[in-house]
Amino acid sequence: MLSTILQFLFSGLTVGAIYALVALGFTLIYNASHVINFAQGEFVMIGGMATVYLVDAGAPIWVAAPAAILLAVAVGVALERLAIAPARDASVVALIVITIGASIFLRGVAQVVWDRNFHTLAPFSGDEPIRVMGASFLPQSLWVLGVSLLAVLALAWFFGRTVLGKAVLATANNRLAAQLVGIETRAVMTLCFALSAFLGAMGGVLVTPITLTSYDAGVMLGLKGFCAAILGGMGSGVGAIVGGLVLGVAEAMGAGFVSSAYKDALAFVLILLVLCFRPSGLVGARASERV
């Protein structure tokens, strides 16, 4: 029994770490602009698909993965520069609709440039399962968890210790005051899109050996990441991480002990429950404190 729980816990944390990365991407952009970027999942897809194609073309993984992530970052920057920034004065709802349009567009392009099939990548460190107390897990899970942890630590350092990170926080908090101290707030917006594309694409590369990828892999992952962000409290970085992990573990337990048929529905049930009892999310500020 214990080993079964451990097994589900571990696979839940692995998927949850990816949800958390996507949720952090939503959070970054939401804080900087109040826009919910529904093209977030497409960054994950681009990371996975581009890596697959570069590896198929003969590139080693350590070249293919960074190149794919760079491509996603370029797409993120282009999305902000070409679609979001020119519409800066439009309502937030209009901007969100733009991101939905962008996500459909990116899926379309991926279908044309790549294909409509499922793809996978070879695990980075083989597929010999590691056994712990009766449970077994793949070395790729360690890659997912380890790299996600590093990314979170790097973000914490960036926002806590660097002036540029503080400038991003300042812009999110008070754009007018940020402009008045000389922060280039437009560049900060672009940076947030780049960072969030980076996180998403990294998740996409890491998870592809476990879950496969395809041109529309971003739809579900984007949605789950969004759920995780809401679950944790939209706008909270810690919330995004907690929300992602809780969602991943809940799904794995639900699929293991109840039925995998309801796995995807579980995310939404969880959100309804949390929103009923803690409207601002697991970690979010109380609603009254947010403007």
């Binding site: 002036v163 926080l169 300042a170 908090n173 008070n174 005051a177 008045l180 101290v181 280039e184």
Partner: protein
């Protein structure tokens, strides 16, 4: 007379509603110039246009002899035009110290000295350096907003109602700080509804009504003007 700031025929609007019409004003180096006017006269809009956060729809702004009308707000801060906005606008979740560090965002050097100077000027900020700025009282937030602006080493300091909502004692402290800055040679454009205090410390002053400059002159002279007395000094 040489001019550090020169505004000529400036207009600005919110949508189709005009907030500034044909505003011209000048500030000479080392001067403290006051801008007074009642609610909604357009004082804040004028300062925002000077800082570049509200676009000008007509007219020209020159700083130190060169046209800055098209520059971004960040470029203007780098030139030395620094504003303490209306309502303080501190970065509430960030610490007092981080607010000061961000005040010096455009500078590479002198951050440590700047912070030390800010703490000498307002010792209460030193005590609360690790607290989030949002936890400070209104008066302390105003001190922080002023100290944050000074971190950018302003050549022209724009102050938008620094005494708004403060108790008399704190107002006096803020005005004392402004007087000290002036003595140290900082050029200041001060917006105030508290016209009595503002005209007392000002070398020169402008009176604004519904988006236009309607009167100007040396501070002491305006303070004796019958119309100004009736409208702004409550006499």
């Amino acid at each position: 007379m040489s001019r550090l700031l020169e505004v000529e025929g400036l207009a600005a609007q919110y949508g189709r509603v005009a907030a500034l019409h044909d505003v011209s004003l000048a500030v000479a180096p080392g001067q403290l110039v006051a801008l007074v006017g009642s609610n909604g006269a357009g004082k804040t809009t004028l300062l925002r246009a000077i800082s570049g956060v509200r676009p000008a729809s007509a007219g020209r702004i020159a700083f130190d002899g060169s046209d800055i009308t098209g520059l971004t707000p960040a470029r203007r801060v780098r030139l030395g035009i620094v504003q303490v906005p209306e309502g303080r606008q501190v970065f509430a979740p960030l610490s007092v110290e981080d607010n000061l560090i961000l005040g010096g965002y455009t500078r590479r050097a002198g951050i440590e000295e700047g912070i030390a100077r800010a703490f000498r000027m307002f010792p209460v900020l030193a005590e609360k350096r690790r607290l989030p700025a949002g936890a400070l009282s209104g008066g302390q937030q105003q001190m922080l907003a002023l100290a944050r602006a000074l971190m950018a080493a302003p050549r022209l300091l724009l102050l938008d109602e620094p005494s708004m909502g403060l108790a008399p004692l704190l107002t006096a402290e803020i005005f004392a700080a402004i007087a000290a800055l002036k003595r140290a040679g900082t050029t200041i454009l001060l917006v105030e509804q508290n016209a009595t205090q503002a005209l007392r410390v000002a070398d020169y002053a402008y009176v604004m009504e519904t988006g236009r400059i309607v009167l100007e002159g040396p501070g002491a002279e305006l303070a004796r003007n019958e119309k100004v007395k009736a409208a702004y000094l409550g006499m």
